[in-house]
């Protein structure tokens, strides 16, 4: 069992759903068409075309800038971020997703919300995207394989969405289930699909945790987990589930894909931690992939990927070497 001290930042889930939020969300659903005008062509075309399948290339996304910048590192060139992806549904090589994910249809797309919520529902992606202004946030992205990028994501805090979903007080964890479709995916044997990831409720509610729809001012490329994923910047990349089709609120720590397969290599928390090695490599350093040079930039890995201040006391009382 985990030992942890209750933090001020931890809001009881019974208190996190002001009525206005729910009303705003419902209002938003009613007036989706109007709001969609502000979104990219995919959303608009989908709305006007009655959600027939439309072309799924990345389209422009209207984003508002925020204060989340990475001042000490250059942004990764877009082409690199979109050609080097771990998305095992589309193959085990990091070039596979860019080659194979084009077949994924991201419209129509719905997300099922179920488990410990007042009312389980199925929500259309465009409704979710229109719910809050989409912010651009530049985050460090640290893969468990000891390479990293700096990526401008676009989305809004997952907490906003969760509040609107009205989870029950008994909900302690959130599970994200990714799409599984053997018609368009490779689904390599040896890995159990659908891909499943999870966060503790306070992690999911943390202001850094971003419900993400885009990058580089555009909707997400399929290989990045279009049309909807999460980004949890203080954790290794695999914690940030892609192409989400289901969000489930649960009371116990859920099973997660990589943790199930190799518990000694991938912890449930998987916070970026330079002092806990992966069995096969050190996590003290990372290869920063943000330039067009063949000479590697090896930089020290920062605790919580440089977000230790924002994380504050969230893990106080836990032994992060054990609960890695």
């Amino acid at each position: 069992m985990l030992l942890r001290v209750k933090q001020a930042s931890e809001i009881a889930s019974s208190e996190i759903t002001p009525k206005e939020t729910v009303e705003a969300f419902n209002q938003m659903r009613r007036s989706r068409r109007d709001v969609l005008k502000g979104l990219g062509a995919v959303g608009a075309a989908a709305a006007l075309g009655g959600f027939a399948s439309v072309a799924e290339a990345e389209t422009k996304l209207n984003v508002v800038a925020t204060n989340y910048k990475v001042s000490d590192r250059e942004t990764t060139p877009e082409a690199k971020a979109k050609s080097y992806n771990n998305f095992y549904e589309f193959g085990t090589d990091k070039g596979d997703p860019a080659r194979n994910a084009g077949k994924l249809k991201t419209r129509p797309w719905t997300v099922k919300v179920e488990g410990l919520v007042k009312t389980p529902k199925t929500i259309d992606i465009d409704t979710i995207m229109a719910y809050r202004p989409i912010e651009e946030r530049v985050y460090r992205f640290r893969c468990v394989e000891a390479w990293s990028m700096v990526i401008p994501w676009a989305g809004y805090p997952l907490s906003e969405f969760i509040k609107a979903m009205d989870p029950l007080p008994s909900a302690k964890f959130v599970t994200f289930i990714s799409d599984e479709d053997s018609k368009v995916m490779e689904l390599p044997s040896g890995i159990e699909f659908p891909y499943q990831e999870g966060l503790r409720m306070d992690e999911a509610m943390h202001p850094l945790t971003l419900l993400t729809f885009g990058s580089y001012g555009q909707t997400l490329a399929n290989q990045q987990g279009a049309p909807i994923r999460v980004i949890v910047p203080w954790k290794y990349g695999f914690k940030s589930a892609k192409s989400i089709v289901k969000i489930k609120f649960v009371d116990k720590m859920p099973a997660t894909t990589w943790n199930d397969m190799a518990p000694d290599e991938y912890g449930f928390y998987s916070n970026v931690n330079p002092s806990v090695d992966h069995p096969r490599w050190s996590q003290a350093h990372e290869r920063l992939l943000n330039s067009n040079s063949i000479l590697p930039k090896v930089v020290p890995t920062l605790p919580f990927n440089g977000y230790a201040n924002e994380i504050g006391t969230m893990y106080a009382g836990m032994n992060l070497r054990q609960d890695f």
């Binding site: 082409a79 690199k80 971020a81 050609s83 080097y84 085990t92 090589d93 990091k94 390479w147 390599p188 044997s189 040896g190 890995i191 990589w258 397969m261 190799a262 290599e265 090695d277 069995p279 096969r280 490599w281 050190s282 003290a284 350093h285 290869r287 992939l289 067009n292 040079s293 063949i294 000479l295 590697p296 090896v298």
Partner: protein, 223 residues
């Protein structure tokens, strides 16, 4: 003669491809050039090692394939060549070695700079070696290939005597097995990419063992 020329050309092709990719700038545009070079050199080392091991079993298939023997040593040496590039990639590009500082040092006349950088990174490489089984087994494979490469000239063979030489060179099976284990130990649980090379290796080992077994069975009958 032409067999050897063709062999050299074929074995050098991957290296020339890598050089060309560096020269035209497309290598740098890859998302993770270091990762690409590591896998590229590792793959070719392993494939050439398997090709080297395949020479004898394939020759036995038909008398007309005898000429293949002339390629065996070359294939082994090129396997060692790519394995060495693979090891150098780890040391100079992967381990945290500061190549920019080393190059800058040499440019400004401090010829000791590359060595200094190596000394800086040495402790963490030793730490890596001590902790990681896949690095140990990979280094074992390379060390064996080094010993085989050094003893590959005819002169050394004559000096060592055929029996001793052959005993030493049987270690190529250990090297190939170690290389395959190195591959399995470095991929993630659930990832099965090394299965093809493993299948080929097992087939080649089975062919050898089968040949020996059949010969043993036949011997008493002849005698």
């Amino acid at each position: 003669m032409w067999v050897k020329v063709a062999g050299h050309m074929a074995c050098l092709l991957p290296f020339l491809y890598l050089l060309e990719k560096y020269r035209d700038g497309s290598l740098a545009l890859l998302a993770d050039p270091v990762n690409f070079i590591t896998h590229f050199t590792g793959d070719w080392a392993l494939w050439l090692l398997l090709a080297c091991l395949a020479v004898t079993p394939v020759r036995r298939l038909h008398a007309s394939l005898g000429w293949l023997i002339r390629l065996r040593r070359m294939l082994g040496l090129y396997a060692f060549f790519y394995a060495t590039l693979h090891l150098l990639t780890y040391v100079l590009l992967f381990s945290g070695y500061d190549m920019s500082a080393a190059i800058e040092g040499v440019r400004t006349g401090h010829l000791i700079a590359p060595w200094r950088q190596l000394m800086l990174i040495w402790p963490s490489m030793l730490d890596d070696l001590e902790k990681r089984k896949f690095i140990q087994v990979g280094l074992l494979a390379w060390t064996i290939l080094l010993a085989l490469a050094v003893t590959s000239p005819q002169r050394v063979l004559r000096w060592m005597g055929g029996k001793n030489w052959q005993r030493l060179h049987w270690l190529i099976y250990v090297a190939a097995t170690a290389a395959a284990i190195h591959y399995w130990w470095l991929v993630k649980a659930g990832v099965r990419t090394p299965w093809k090379v493993t299948a080929v290796l097992l087939l080649l080992l089975a062919a050898r063992l089968g040949y020996v077994a059949v010969k043993r069975l036949k011997k008493p009958v002849v005698a």
